[in-house]
């Protein structure tokens, strides 16, 4: 921009106007995002318990945090949940998109049906799946009612498997949304590429696998970005589905942070866990963001 010769008389005004327009949002963003991140970081090394306290207390909260069984469980759960949720929603969404792309009848109706779960809040999804997966009410009771007495599906009440239930409910909610993104991507691809491949004698699965899906790379990128932030901030889904239970088997860092900061009177520990969450997210997402954005520019 600075390379344009400044011969026009209107030039000085244009120079300050954009800055002025952007300034309020910049200031607000700076204050309420980065300012609060720093504030939280300070709380994590303060003596805050029940109420905020600005006395410096060192890194003790972090030592307690990493020694905490519950935080380790929560971190592992996030890893399991995020992998399954993102992978599952991508796979299922892509499959649905490819199937819908076959110029079928009633596509509009099906598309709407698949997309509808997205219109629900995670609280509704969580509550509904809580009933569906409850062994005494839902699938297990129904199948047993049909006469298969030995049928067993009690993941929700099994501390080792309950986290998979959270992933199932999350995938159900988001697969339709992923489908919509992929379908838009598929429709955006030039027909002539497919025709050319067909002329060359490539089979349909091969066309998808080798040509269409690789060309969806930008869609993959934005979908993963959207899904990973849903996964990391997941709170309402867990609260409605299992409330972190059985025990604390389905705790996630977000629910851990909430209960420490707001119900247990350990604001510094909660703040420390929030800071660790931010650091981990930054460590994973920033390199990915960087590599993807650079490669698309190229």
């Amino acid at each position: 921009m600075s390379q344009t010769p400044s011969t026009s008389p209107a030039r000085p005004r244009i120079d300050w106007l954009p800055k002025l327009v952007v300034a309020p949002s910049f200031v607000l963003g700076f204050l309420f995002i980065y300012g609060l991140i720093l504030w939280n970081a300070y709380f994590s090394v303060s003596a805050s318990r029940l109420l905020p306290n600005y006395e410096f207390a060192g890194i003790e909260p972090y030592i307690n945090l990493f020694a905490s069984d519950r935080f380790q469980v929560a971190s592992w759960n996030l890893a399991i949940f995020a992998t399954l949720f993102i992978g599952g929603a991508l796979a299922l969404g892509l499959l649905l998109a490819v199937l819908l792309d076959q110029k079928i009848r009633q596509e509009g109706v099906l598309r709407t049906i698949y997309l509808y779960p997205m219109a629900l809040s995670f609280i509704v999804t969580g509550t509904a799946w809580k009933w569906i997966l409850n062994p005494g009410l839902g699938i297990e009771a129904t199948v047993r009612g049909w006469g298969f007495e030995s049928f067993q599906f009690d993941w929700l009440v099994d501390p080792d498997k309950a986290i998979y239930c959270v992933a199932i409910a999350g995938i159900w909610q988001s697969a339709g949304f992923v489908m919509a993104l992929f379908l838009a991507g598929l429709r955006g691809i030039d027909d002539s590429i497919i025709k050319a491949a067909q002329v060359d004698g490539a089979s349909l699965p091969r066309i998808y696998w080798r040509i269409l899906i690789p060309s969806l790379r930008p869609v993959f990128f934005s979908t993963i970005m959207v899904l990973s932030h849903i996964a990391i901030k997941s709170f309402d889904l867990v609260m409605a589905l299992t409330a972190g239970g059985p025990g604390f088997a389905t705790d996630l860092p977000a629910t851990y942070m909430y209960s420490m900061a707001f119900t247990r009177g350990q604001i510094n520990l909660g703040a420390a866990s929030a800071t660790v969450m931010l650091a981990v997210v930054a460590a994973i997402v920033v390199p990915y963001l960087y590599s993807e954005l650079r490669s698309t520019k190229r």
Binding site: L50, L51, R70, T242, G245, G247, F248, A249, T263, R264
Partner: protein, 419 residues
């Protein structure tokens, strides 16, 4: 324009009138509570009516949900912004935490006028004091170590209500054989811990309980007795149904009411569910002390902490409130609605039912014998950080098959150090 000018005038007139009335009498009390359902809401209204009869304005500040968690979050923001309510429902060691922040008011003159020291058991009064000064007014006492029994189910299994843990397991086995669920339970950490408390008190006794779970003595937390407690506790799980995780306590009570389950270990608020279902104590259901705890009493006392205010009139109203809460009339009215018993001693209990009378008698007896102990499951015994950490350990042990009692004891010791 003229139209507009009338309104402020009227408002000013109303204000002036209002303030002259306030001069005649005291100010406004804003009370933060989470009594929003059924009998509790009625009880809160009773308090509001008592205050209004004295000429004070009642400003209701009810925040529902989360067993008070949401209310506490709101309270924190109000206090941090320098605008606390007159009173808030705070209990147990949290009172001390709040007092340490230096935001609570001193109620000594109210307490002295009504002789609280003589009208409250010492164990309870001590919990309401910070550095020897009263900072909160107590409302009620809940007994937590009750076993609720459906006599029909026990008859079917041909057993009687258990008084020791050994008898409990015999009875439970018989109920299981009869094809019913022996113990109704909801798998939430506080309910898991309610059972743990009952086992600790029943198996270990009041002294063990106090040493291990109130004073958090490491040697007692890791002892042969604790191992016995943990083993017994885990054995109880075999007699609950597998759909328990996440179930609310009142749904578990409903299982006992419907005769699907024989017993439930729960505090005396469960009585409200039985009575709402049209059942009579002593006939359709029985309340007995949890196995082995007949001579002990786990209490959960609700109280209102009073915050430091600036406005003189409001301070006066606040003191009226504290006095009203402890008055015999209110204690009776409130507790009849809530299902608990009055915390005030030497009261006439004619209007209360048999369970409440039993509870009150045991309350007095155990406070003399020194076996009146605070409930940890309800935040009466230790700081919220230690309480949470200990609950985590116990709940994890209850739910998972991985840990041995030895490992759990080590974890308990380190959890007790949480500050």
């Amino acid at each position: 324009m003229r139209k507009f000018s009338v309104k402020p005038l009227q408002a000013a007139a109303a204000l002036a009138l209002g303030s002259t009335m306030m001069l005649a009498h005291a100010g406004e009390v804003e009370v933060l509570h989470w009594w929003t359902s059924g009998g509790e809401a009625k009880a809160a209204k009773a308090l509001a009516a008592t205050m209004q009869a004295k000429g004070d304005t009642w400003k209701d500040f009810a925040v529902a949900g989360g067993g008070g968690d949401s209310a506490m979050t709101v309270l924190k923001s109000r206090v941090v912004s320098g605008n606390p309510p007159s009173a808030a429902q705070i209990k147990g060691p949290s009172l001390q935490d709040w007092a340490k922040e230096g935001v609570l008011a001193n109620l000594d003159d109210v307490a002295k006028a009504d002789n609280w020291d003589a009208n409250l058991p010492k164990a309870i009064a001590d919990g309401l004091k910070y550095k020897g000064h009263y900072i909160a007014a107590p409302v009620n006492v809940h007994r937590v170590n009750w076993l609720w029994v459906n006599p029909e189910v026990l008859k079917k299994a041909n057993v009687k209500a258990p008084t020791t843990w050994a008898e409990f397991f015999t009875a439970a086995e018989a109920i299981k054989k009869a094809g019913l669920i022996p113990l109704a339970h909801g798998g939430q950490s506080w309910q898991d811990f309610t059972i743990f408390e009952d086992v600790a008190l029943g198996v270990g006794g009041a002294d063990f309980y106090k040493k291990a779970l109130v004073q958090l003595d490491p040697a007692t937390l890791k002892s042969a007795k604790m191992k016995e407690v943990l083993t017994t506790f885990k054995k109880v799980k075999d007699y609950t149904d597998k759909n328990a995780p996440g179930r609310d306590w009142n749904l578990a009570t409903a299982m006992v009411i419907r005769g699907e389950a024989g017993m439930q270990l729960m505090g005396d608020w469960a009585k409200g569910e039985f009575i709402a279902a049209g059942k009579t104590p002593g006939k359709d259901f029985e309340c007995v002390a949890a196995p082995g705890t007949a001579k002990a009493y786990t209490y959960n006392v609700d109280s209102f902490a009073m915050f430091q205010l600036k406005n003189e009139a409001n301070i006066k109203a606040q003191k009226n409130l504290a006095g009203a809460i402890m008055s015999p009339a209110f204690q009776e009215l409130f507790n009849l609605n809530k299902g608990s018993i009055p915390v005030r001693l030497n009261m006439n209990l004619d209007k209360f039912d048999s369970c409440a009378k039993q509870s009150s008698k045991d309350f007095v007896d155990t406070s003399k014998a020194g076996s009146l102990v605070p409930s940890i499951a309800h935040g009466m015994a230790v700081s919220s950080a230690a309480e949470g950490a200990i609950k985590d350990v116990v709940s994890q042990y209850w739910n998972s098959e991985k840990d041995t009692p030895e490992q759990v004891m080590d974890k308990l010791v380190s959890a007790a150090k949480a500050k």
